[in-house]
Symmetry: C2
Subunit: 167 residues, 2 copies
DNA sequence: AAAACTGATTGCAAAATGCAAGTGCTATAA
DNA sequence: TTATAGCACTTGCATTTTGCAATCAGTTTT
């Protein structure tokens, strides 16, 4: 336990790292939206995150070991963000948070469909998703029999969006 | 979805309710520490929560339907707080958060033992715990075969405290 | 009567948030 | 070549939140 922490309780320590309005939103967007650049995260933010908050959170998440930042070869200033293993290990937490939100809060269907699929899939699906994230973000090899998770989540989202929109 | 929300995503909505430094700490203390009065929550807070923050969060959690507040017959001013079903349904989320904190952050053993037991017990233990919380906070009857969960968590905590303290 | 308890509230400074404009470098389009 | 767009921030400012510690006024206990 480091000296700045208010206690060594795991929940408290997790909240000292992630207990704010925006950090898990940033992780969500990288994880589920595959947004890897600052402009993508800023411009495509469903919640309209402020530029200074996004910059601040990205910096903090890198400092705390939840993200890594690398240069993108396509532009001298462009930064590329990857999730680390601790961030990937947040999948079950985010799945539970999504399930809880779906049940107890007034969600919209197109934004809730991914949470529904994760809840229905349960821990085996979360493990598959984490395996896929390790591949995409850490360069770990995928098993031969891997069934894509993120593509399935995204397809369900897009189908729901099309469903909500009259032709 | 109500008009103040930044989006209808379940994760976002959960974070609009609970995405701050202190709300889940308050719920944790009521849930695991069985602290049901303001002074208990304030005086026994491992993290030293500030009085105005505690008062503010209790009020907000009541307003959002996660806590109920009733008068305590022993003192005209004394308030008694109970978890609601949505708060009890946060057990898996808190269990995951604790497990994540134990694995990725520098926790102290006596404060991490409960998280360890919850992780080892998995969903069956969480269900038992939620059943017990429904009894304690909502007055729902306990099954005859119920094995106490909170008492076991507390005993493990106290054993760990005694273990860390030389005689 | 004095002290302790009750759930707050208050005064203040520091920190964080949110909006929108601005910065200086890099890449692309005209 | 010049103008425009893209890049990840940064900045100025007002508002809100946090955190510390003292205070409040009613209630109960000593």
């Amino acid at each position: 336990m480091n000296d700045d922490a208010r206690s060594g309780c795991p929940i408290n320590l997790a909240l000292e790292t992630l207990g704010d309005r925006w950090s898990l939103i940033v992780i969500r967007d990288i994880m589920f939206g595959n947004r890897r650049h600052y402009r993508e995260l800023l411009g495509q933010s469903e919640e309209g995150i402020a530029s200074n908050i996004l910059a601040d959170r990205l910096k903090k998440l890198v400092a705390k070991g939840l993200l890594t930042r690398t240069d993108d070869p396509s532009h001298k200033q462009k930064a590329f963000y990857n999730l680390t293993e601790p961030a990937i290990a947040l999948v079950p937490l985010l799945a539970h948070m999504g399930a809880w939100g779906r049940r107890h809060l007034p969600t919209t269907p197109e934004l809730a469909i991914r949470a529904q699929l994760l809840e229905e899939g349960g821990p085996p699906l979360w493990e598959d998703f984490m395996t896929e994230l390790r591949h995409a973000h850490l360069g770990v090899a995928l098993p031969a029999a891997h069934v894509p998770v993120l593509a399935r989540l995204t397809a369900a989202y897009e189908a729901e969006v099309a469903r909500q929109r009259p032709a």
